[in-house]
């Protein structure tokens, strides 16, 4: 494919694409008032937010974390405890939760500095699991495995609303902010340093990139944003339990959405959420009763297919449709001759 055309698609997929998708989400509640539809939209936006936050550390900096539930849980628990026990507004909870999560991420980054690849991922799982067990056992503070339910007091100050539309808009604003931040990072020296770090740590260091600082800052930003999403989640669902907000399932889901959508791309995680949320919703509704866990099998299969055929995620299929198609053909051994021509073109 010629470069100018690719550039054009790249740009169209970039900021304008993101803005278009966000605008679409913004007008949706004007025309649709169905409560389930709005809940569905909220879910997509929510997963897009956490996957985008993950993307900053996992996609750009290559810090493949499977422990983001820890940061999410820290945000949710910090603000909920402050709100329920001490009557502190979740707006402050966001700040406190975000800062605590960022601090936790610094500790985690320090501990895992020398770990790479699967070892890093395993260490992050362990970190989140340890934290979850602590939460389960610190019954007096956290309510143990029953969790904490949040009293329904609708107000802007409590971030609790009686309709679903305000929830959709708060999540939308957060998503827009996270995507914008990702764009700014991508275009800055910081983004370049993160990519260099992801590609080859030693080489990056040789070129003057302070890899340790970059890792810490990237995971810190990612953890902070994830914690804020945790606060919004708590104020919407009004119940937080260790299994749902700090479980491994959450961490995996976040990473999978990001991988499928396209890592190190500002809109990738949003695309991932657009595909995966409806899919998992459908699978759970259809087979939740008769075939529990089927969605996990399908997830796994889908992930494998994506990694083999579109390792750069959905974004790459839109960006370079021909080379993606050629890849699919060549791997499946189909239409050999046409692929060769595509390669030479």
């Amino acid at each position: 494919m010629n470069t100018t055309k690719m550039r054009f698609i790249d740009r169209a997929l970039g900021l304008p694409g993101a803005v278009a998708l966000l605008c679409l989400a913004a007008v949706f509640p004007i025309f649709v008032s169905d409560s389930y539809a709005l809940h569905f939209l909220w879910k997509i936006l929510f997963w897009a937010v956490v996957a985008s936050a993950w993307n900053i550390a996992g996609g750009y900096a290559g810090q493949f974390s499977l422990g983001h539930a820890a940061f999410f849980g820290i945000g949710a628990y910090a603000s909920t405890i402050l709100f329920v026990r001490f009557g502190v507004s979740p707006w402050w909870g966001m700040l406190v939760g975000g800062v605590l999560a960022a601090l936790a991420s610094v500790v985690l980054a320090r501990l895992t500095l020398r770990l790479k690849g699967p070892f890093f991922a395993l260490a992050t799982i362990a970190f989140a699991e340890v934290l979850r067990i602590v939460v389960v056992n610190a019954r007096d503070l956290t309510g143990g495995s029953q969790g904490i339910s949040i009293p329904f007091k609708p107000a802007l100050e409590t971030l609790i609303f009686s309709g679903r539309t305000p929830y959709v808009y708060t999540m939308l604003i957060l998503l827009a902010a996270v995507i914008l931040l990702t764009f700014l990072i991508q275009r800055s020296w910081f983004g370049f340093s993160l990519l260099a770090l992801r590609e080859d740590e030693d080489a990056a260091e040789t070129l003057g990139v302070d890899t340790v600082a970059m890792k810490i800052v990237a995971t810190g930003i990612s953890a902070f944003l994830t914690a804020i999403a945790g606060v919004l989640y708590a104020q919407y669902i009004l119940l937080i339990e260790p299994v749902t907000v700090m479980g491994l399932d959450f961490s995996i889901q976040v990473a999978v959405i990001s991988i499928i959508g396209g890592m190190a791309s500002p809109v990738g995680p949003l695309l991932g959420a657009l595909l995966m949320v409806p899919l998992s919703e459908y699978l759970r509704a259809e087979f939740g009763g008769s075939f529990q866990g089927l969605y996990l099998i399908i997830y796994g299969a889908l992930l494998m297919v994506m990694v083999i055929f579109m390792p750069q995620g959905l974004v790459s299929a839109i960006r370079q449709p021909r080379s993606t198609w050629a890849r699919i053909c060549s791997i499946s051994g189909y239409q050999r001759k046409r692929i060769r021509r595509a390669d030479h073109a």
């Binding site: 470069t3 275009r187 800055s188 020296w189 370049f192 340093s193 990519l195 260099a196 590609e199 080859d200 030693d202 080489a203 990056a204 260091e205 040789t206 070129l207 003057g208 990139v209 302070d210 890899t211």
Partner: protein, 238 residues
């Protein structure tokens, strides 16, 4: 420019570099040679900050750099290439070089210009939008040099940049190294190919078993009996 003073580095009981001292003058090309296992790469890594020296000092323009981390050493004006090339495969050639240029300026606009300069010098402009992974070996070697140049080094360490190149490519690479020196950058080069090192270096330092065996201009060093013995064995002494 660069003063290495009684530098040692031991791995367990093995002294890979043992009390080596030499200096580099500004604008000079110094060749560092030695048989396999002589300690060239270890010495190199100590200077570049990849490993810490066990003892001794390394001063760049009077400032101690021994034991500093690589990115600090780079910030102080020392660029290096790797013997086994390490491009950022999934980035374009241009973006690879921009990463280097960001060492000098964090403003993207400026970094782009600096990167273009480095691409110009190394002749990589036609390839600038290719992914680094798609470059040929000589292309990757050039990319290594371009990235290092983009960091704005006063001293450039080249680790076997010619290995694996064919004679024409080597000729081009020698030309490139001379151009780099002309632009005012001091060069320390490690190389296996004798022809290259003797034609390009002003002076040569020979390492053997971690110690400095000889130092001087190429002709003198290559005729030094001790050097010939180290390379070829004593049977070849005339």
């Amino acid at each position: 420019m660069l003063e290495i003073d009684r530098l040692s580095r031991a791995f367990g009981g093995l002294k890979a570099v043992n009390e080596v001292s030499f200096t580099l003058q500004r604008g000079e090309i110094l060749g560092l040679i030695g048989p396999n296992g002589a300690g060239k790469t270890t010495l190199f890594n100590c200077v570049a900050g990849a490993i810490k020296p066990s003892s001794g000092s390394i001063r760049l323009e009077g400032a101690e750099i021994g034991g500093l981390k690589s990115h600090r050493v780079c910030r102080m004006g020392l660029g290096r290439t790797y013997q086994i090339v390490r491009p950022f495969n999934n980035l374009t050639v241009f973006d690879n070089v921009i990463v280097g240029a960001l060492n000098r300026s964090r403003r993207m606009q400026e970094a782009r210009l600096l990167a273009m300069d480095a691409l110009q010098v190394t002749g990589l402009i036609p390839m600038k939008d290719m992914l680094a992974v798609n470059l040929t070996l000589p292309g990757r070697k050039r990319l290594e040099i371009a990235r290092a140049l983009a960091t704005g080094p006063k001293l450039l360490l080249l680790d076997e940049v010619m290995a694996g190149l064919n004679p024409t490519e080597i000729e081009a690479a020698i030309e490139l190294i001379r151009d780099i020196r002309k632009s005012g950058i001091t060069v320390l080069i490690v190389e296996h190919l004798m022809r290259v090192i003797t034609s390009v270096s002003d002076r040569i330092v020979v390492l053997h078993h971690g110690q400095k065996l000889a130092e001087g201009d190429p002709a003198t060093v290559m005729n030094d009996p001790a050097v010939i013995e180290a390379y070829l064995g004593e049977d070849f002494l005339a």
